[in-house]
């Protein structure tokens, strides 16, 4: 039987919204004096204080060697949970029990001093993360090797490039010898190659060395490949705990509910044809999905509603795709391809558009929808739907992706 590594019991965390105190000493003393003479007023003050529960009744148990993926939207409480687990802050209620040393990696390079050399920073950072001197010494060569900065070891880190800095920082953290490792989304830094190396290292930590890993990520692909269990958080409460695939599906479904376009009011046009919703369908499985990857055969399923729409001239339905910086990358439009659509005059109908080999690189994008006919705009929603490309198999599985900064789409090239 394996031992329990971490047991989380009824952990809750509340914050007081707004001012913690009045901010100045004299006003605080004044209030204290008032509250001594008038306890009722003090009570009123306490109730007024706006308590926000950022975590509520979290319960789970992890055995040694398990890897837990913590998923949830922004503000779901993932970071708060990690902070409590790494003892940076305390829970308001509940307790966490566990066995073995905890090391947490909420940020790479915490405590790096820009004036110190790489060598000195390895020791300092290691010690801050809880390593003993002899442990760092033992792993020193491995750390340097992993980071690939050996020729700059005696240079102050302020002269490092940001890539070198991150590599060195992760290398130190990756060689922690704790039984429990807590990792926040640190893999979002560095280039794709290094991210892959980090993921590999994390995999060997949990699977190879039998250590317990808790891992937060928005990247479902890495959660899937690394974790043996998952915890789904939503607005501070536990939505589920257990099977990774199940939790990821739940999370995706949750997200889907969010993208209903119907409630958007910031749209232009006369509304004779309105876009109600857009789904992504993976042609391979014929199922609705949010797990998009470069190279997939993707179908945009656009749900529309017509209201006394007269088919006078050609209807145009366009999808403009922009990257996360708002640059328009491309436009999908039947006006460009010269195809004629067959809309309904009244009622709901759908228009499907197939992309044979999705050429978008990993990243975040938004879709702007535009519906018009005969110079008349019917519906126009800017940034109607965000989506992200999570992984890449444009040139097949396990092939290198586009490096960061080298553009956002692929040409369908072959070397002859």
């Amino acid at each position: 039987m394996t031992n329990t590594a971490i047991k989380v019991e009824n952990v809750s965390k509340s914050y007081i919204k707004g001012a913690i105190s009045t901010g100045t000493l004299s006003r605080d003393i004044e209030q204290k004096i008032v509250s001594i003479f008038n306890p009722k007023k003090q009570l009123a003050l306490k109730q007024d204080a706006n308590l926000v529960w950022s975590l509520k009744d979290i319960n789970f148990e992890l055995k040694q060697g398990e890897a837990l993926g913590i998923i949830g939207k922004n503000g779901a409480g993932k970071s708060t949970l990690l902070k409590i687990l790494s003892r940076v802050t305390t829970p308001t209620k509940g307790a966490i029990k566990g066995n073995g040393r905890i090391a947490s990696l909420l940020e790479v390079g915490t405590g790096f001093h820009p004036e110190l050399s790489g060598r000195e920073n390895i020791y300092l950072n290691g010690a801050i993360l809880g390593m003993k001197r002899h442990e760092i010494k033992k792993n020193f060569d491995e750390i340097v090797d992993f980071s690939g900065v050996e020729s700059y070891l005696d240079t102050p880190v302020k002269r490092y490039s940001s890539g070198m800095y991150v590599r060195l920082a992760f290398a130190v953290a990756a060689h922690l010898e704790s039984e429990i490792l807590i990792v926040d989304e640190v893999l979002a830094v560095g280039d794709a190659d290094f991210q892959k190396k980090c993921l590999g290292k994390m995999g060997s930590i949990s699977k190879g060395q039998g250590r317990t890993v808790l891992f937060v990520s928005h990247n479902m692909q890495s959660i899937q490949s690394l974790c043996s269990k998952a915890l789904l958080l939503n607005k501070g409460t536990m939505q589920g705990f257990g099977n990774v695939q199940e939790m990821i599906n739940n999370y995706m479904q949750n997200q889907e509910n969010n993208i209903s376009l119907i409630d958007r009011t910031d749209r232009k046009g006369d509304g004779k044809v309105k876009v109600i919703n857009i789904h992504f369908i993976d042609k391979k499985t014929e199922k609705i999905t949010n797990n998009l990857y470069a190279g997939m055969r993707l179908v945009f399923d656009i749900e529309l509603a017509s209201n006394q729409f007269k088919i006078s001239s050609n209807l145009e339905i366009s999808l403009g795709i922009s990257d996360q910086y708002g640059n328009r990358i491309t436009l999908i439009s039947n006006k460009v391809s010269g195809q004629t659509l067959h809309p309904l005059t009244n009622g709901n109908w759908s228009q499907k558009i197939m992309i044979n080999h999705l050429p978008l690189a990993i990243g975040k994008y938004t879709i702007t929808v535009f519906v018009a006919s005969g110079g008349q705009i019917h519906d126009w929603v800017i940034d109607a739907l965000p989506f992200s490309i999570e992984s890449d198999s444009y040139f097949g599985e396990l092939v290198h992706t586009l490096p960061t900064g080298q553009g956002s789409f692929y040409l369908d090239f072959t070397y002859l």
């Binding site: 100045t24 790494s86 966490i96 110190l116």
Partner: protein, 282 residues
């Protein structure tokens, strides 16, 4: 029978009002020494003159004091050569002031570190006190060199047995500076206006003790107030140990010891109270 599982550690919401977890802190002793090393290296790496600054500052202060208080103000130096009178005061006060000032911003300066990784928080303020001690020792060495030079010029050194008290005085200064600094830093997380007070407050405080004048020169009705400052005993004993001039009394030392312990404990208590949830309030 079901076996009750045992756990190495528990994280709970309870906030013990006094905790100095020595076992846990000892585990992090390597971090403690590395922080001291970091402060030292970082200090001289950023300067052109490097470690020379350790000497320049007290010597310049000593010259200014000799001129302003000695020559213009004509304040007595107990018949001691002015450099020998002022230097010990400057060195001790420097150390004490640095402990207060650096400790008083410990939360603000390390907010990022505190919000990202756990280690016994007390290590940071403690490392400050000790890394400042390096500077103190270097300056003490400077004082001894000057003392030897003066003795060659014919000045009679009166080393007394109280010189054995120097380590103890140093501990008192460290604990006092640490305690006061921690009290201030704990309060400044809530009340930012206090931080403004600290800088010039420490400067003004220097005149409430015997850095620029001997206790014997103080008017009798003020003497009591000056003696209330625990630093006075430390400075007077320090001078007495090396120069044979000044006031030395066991009662004063006992008073200072008790005051220091109270302030130190209060500082630790407040620090522990703030440290737990400080991250939620910044």
């Amino acid at each position: 029978m079901k076996e009750q599982p045992k756990y190495d550690w528990t994280i709970k919401s309870e906030n013990p009002w006094f905790k100095l977890d020595l076992v846990n802190t000892w585990e992090y002793k390597d971090l403690f020494f590395l922080l001291i090393k970091r402060d030292f290296i970082a200090f001289y790496k950023q300067t052109i003159l490097g470690p020379l600054w350790f000497f320049i500052q007290p010597i310049l202060t000593m010259i200014v004091f000799s001129f302003v208080f000695g020559k213009i103000g004509n304040i007595s130096t107990n018949n001691l050569p002015k450099p020998l009178f002022y230097l010990p005061g400057i060195i001790c006060w420097n150390y004490f002031a640095e402990c207060i000032l650096k400790n008083s911003t410990v939360f603000r300066d390390n907010a990022n570190l505190f919000s990202k990784v756990y280690f016994p928080r007390i290590i940071l303020p403690m490392s400050i006190v000790f890394s400042s001690m390096v500077r103190f020792f270097i300056q003490l060495f400077l004082f001894i060199v000057i003392l030897v030079i003066y003795s060659f010029k014919g000045f009679q050194i009166h080393l007394s047995i109280t010189i054995l008290l120097i380590p103890y005085l140093l501990i008192l200064m460290a604990a006092l500076g640490q305690g006061l600094g921690l009290i201030i830093s704990s309060l400044t997380t809530k009340y930012r206006d206090l931080a403004l007070l600290v800088n010039f407050g420490v400067q003004l405080l220097m005149f409430s003790t015997t850095v620029t004048y001997p206790l014997s020169a103080a008017p009798n009705n003020f003497k009591f107030l000056i003696e209330l400052n625990p630093m006075t005993t430390i400075l007077e004993t320090f001078r007495y140990a090396f120069l044979g001039q000044g006031t030395f009394s066991i009662t004063a030392i006992l008073y200072t010891t008790v005051t220091t312990i109270i302030i130190f404990l209060l500082g630790i208590i407040l620090f522990n109270k703030v440290e737990k949830n400080f991250i939620d309030t910044i």
